[in-house]
């Protein structure tokens, strides 16, 4: 990545939000990504889910690609397509081959796109899949095609016709022209001042901030390999557009609120569970990694140290300014965010909510308490599906979360009180 493009990355001081080309981005692992997308499909159905995910990816990648093309002075379509591919790969999404005509139509292919490849790694031996998974690559390819040829936003659509998750040899996205659809104005760094609040200090603040800085520096050097994948911390990692995650969650829930209000609660539970999946897999594997042992410590069984670690990890991943102002080990933990990556998007796009909407943050708070109290870190636990099920499903949880304040509702902070049942 050239210096001009690298300089497009920024950190909003005090907020622990990260931006690339003005677009907010966060790190998530393949477990989270697959669970997130599956949840969207569970809520909307596979066809509508793929359409929403693809559209959200197209809208989320457009501002980033536009900023990159501008910074690099790339004006020719061929330059722009090449640059777009490099950026996608650098972010850990895979390295597609894009072949696009001047009318915007064409194909994108790839053998190691993040979603398809990770799905096959995770489930390929156990589950036969009948639907493609690479909506993000489809949306990205559509955005790249539009911008390469100066086409209106929303005028190219990507449809994945082959997918390695369906046991095809390679993924293949077909790009076709559609009637342009107006885009919602994407949330960007320059608008954030309206939505972020001054940072507060929590318990262990100085240590949290120092570890977050160190881990952020390490993550800054992580980039996709020759196939455009990032295999780190025992997971496949992506740097991903926060607007993608937010649009797909909020649009899914709001669609259900219009059509089937009786089952909205189930959808919201799914997206809160996505927060569990994230903390269990990404945070857990970071804490167990040799890199963590080198940078911080070998994890032990002190719940406060695990909570402190999780806050630092969340900040370093671009999730926002997470803190714990109050904790009584074994009984109660209060987690607060003065900024998180969910609320600004909701407020920007929809205005104030009548109910709490920081689903990932809420699910993550509960998961942090569970990981801090129930996992024997000193015994190097195996963070597999069976252990996840034992901790988070059935009667295993043992803890409950109550949202006492939520920034999507206009509150100053989001606050979750996690208590032992």
């Amino acid at each position: 990545m050239s210096d001009a493009i690298s300089q497009l990355k920024s950190l909003m001081p005090g907020c622990d939000l990260t931006f690339f080309g003005g677009a907010p981005y966060v790190f998530h692992c393949h477990h989270y990504n697959l669970f997130h997308d599956q949840s969207v499909d569970d809520v909307l159905g596979e066809e509508a889910g793929f359409a929403l995910r693809s559209r959200a990816a197209r809208e989320a990648f457009r501002p980033l690609l536009a900023a990159v093309f501008d910074a690099a002075g790339a004006t020719l379509p061929v330059e722009r397509i090449e640059l777009a591919t490099q950026i996608f790969a650098a972010l850990g999404h895979g390295r597609p081959s894009l072949s696009v005509s001047s009318d915007g139509t064409g194909v994108a292919t790839g053998t190691h796109l993040h979603y398809g490849f990770a799905w096959r790694e995770k489930y390929g031996k156990q589950v036969k899949r009948f639907d493609p998974v690479d909506a993000v690559a489809a949306g990205f390819a559509a955005a790249a095609s539009e911008l390469a040829h100066g086409l209106p936003p929303g005028s190219v659509e990507g449809t994945e016709v082959n997918c390695v998750a369906m046991q095809h040899e390679q993924c293949r996205v077909s790009l076709s022209r559609v009637a342009p659809t107006p885009l919602a104005e994407p949330l960007a760094e320059r608008m954030m001042a309206d939505y972020v609040k001054p940072p507060q200090r929590g318990l262990w603040e100085d240590e949290v901030a120092a570890i977050a800085d160190g881990l952020r520096g390490f993550l800054g050097g992580v980039a996709g390999d020759e196939r455009g994948l990032v295999h780190a911390f025992n997971v496949f990692v992506t740097a991903h557009m926060a607007n993608y995650y937010n649009e797909t969650i909020f649009e899914s829930v709001r669609a259900l609120e219009e059509r089937s209000p009786a089952v909205v609660g189930a959808a919201e539970s799914l997206f809160r569970e996505a927060g569990h999946v994230c903390v269990f897999n990404t945070f857990g594997n970071i804490i167990l990694s040799p890199e963590w042992e080198s940078m911080v410590e070998k994890p032990g069984d002190d719940p406060e140290r695990i909570v402190m670690s999780c806050l630092a990890i969340a900040r370093s991943l671009g999730f926002g300014h997470w803190l714990v102002p109050e904790m009584k080990v074994g009984e109660r933990m209060v987690m607060r965010t003065t900024t998180n990556y969910e609320a600004p998007y909701y407020l920007h796009r929809y205005g104030r909510s009548a109910k709490p909407r920081c689903y990932i943050t809420t699910g993550a708070a509960l998961a942090i308490a569970v990981l801090a109290h129930r996992v024997k870190w000193s015994e190097s636990p195996t963070l597999d599906q069976a252990y996840y099920d034992a901790l988070f499903r059935g009667d295993g949880l043992g803890w409950e979360a109550e949202v006492t304040r939520d920034q999507t509702m206009g509150d100053e902070v989001t606050e979750i009180v996690v208590s032992r049942r």
């Binding site: 692992c29 477990h31 790694e121 995770k122 031996k125 390490f218 050097g221 994948l229 295999h231 025992n234 997971v235 496949f236 897999n281 857990g284 594997n285 167990l288 990694s289 040799p290 890199e291 042992e293 080198s294 940078m295 195996t382 963070l383 597999d384």
Partner: protein, 106 residues
């Protein structure tokens, strides 16, 4: 020394072992470098050795064997064991005992 598979996330791609003692670490790493491994120190106290397509990540006496994700499923165990044997050989070559015969966890 014992080789354990980490079942954490990606299937059979990550394995771990421990070197017998702190004094073994540096001579063992030097021996592996002499045998063609490339060495980097991306973080304080952490060494990364690239061996072919795979990597050994070492912090203290802890050694994590990270196989390339391109390794076919059916070859992953074999590849991990091959690297484990190379590691034991390096410990022995460094003039130290304690590597034992090498055991694999169930």
């Amino acid at each position: 020394m014992k080789l354990s598979r980490l079942a954490n996330c990606t299937r059979n791609l990550t394995w771990e072992t421990r070197l017998p003692e702190d004094e073994v670490v540096e001579p063992t790493l030097r021996h592996l470098v002499e045998r063609g491994a490339s060495r980097a120190q991306p973080l304080p106290r952490l060494t990364r050795l690239e061996i072919g397509a795979h990597a050994l990540v070492v912090v203290g006496t802890r050694v994590q064997i990270r196989l390339s994700y391109l390794t076919p499923d059916e070859e992953r165990r074999y590849e991990a064991e091959r690297l484990f044997v190379a590691l034991m050989d390096a410990v022995r070559a460094a003039g130290l005992t304690g590597a034992g015969d090498g055991r694999r966890s169930p």
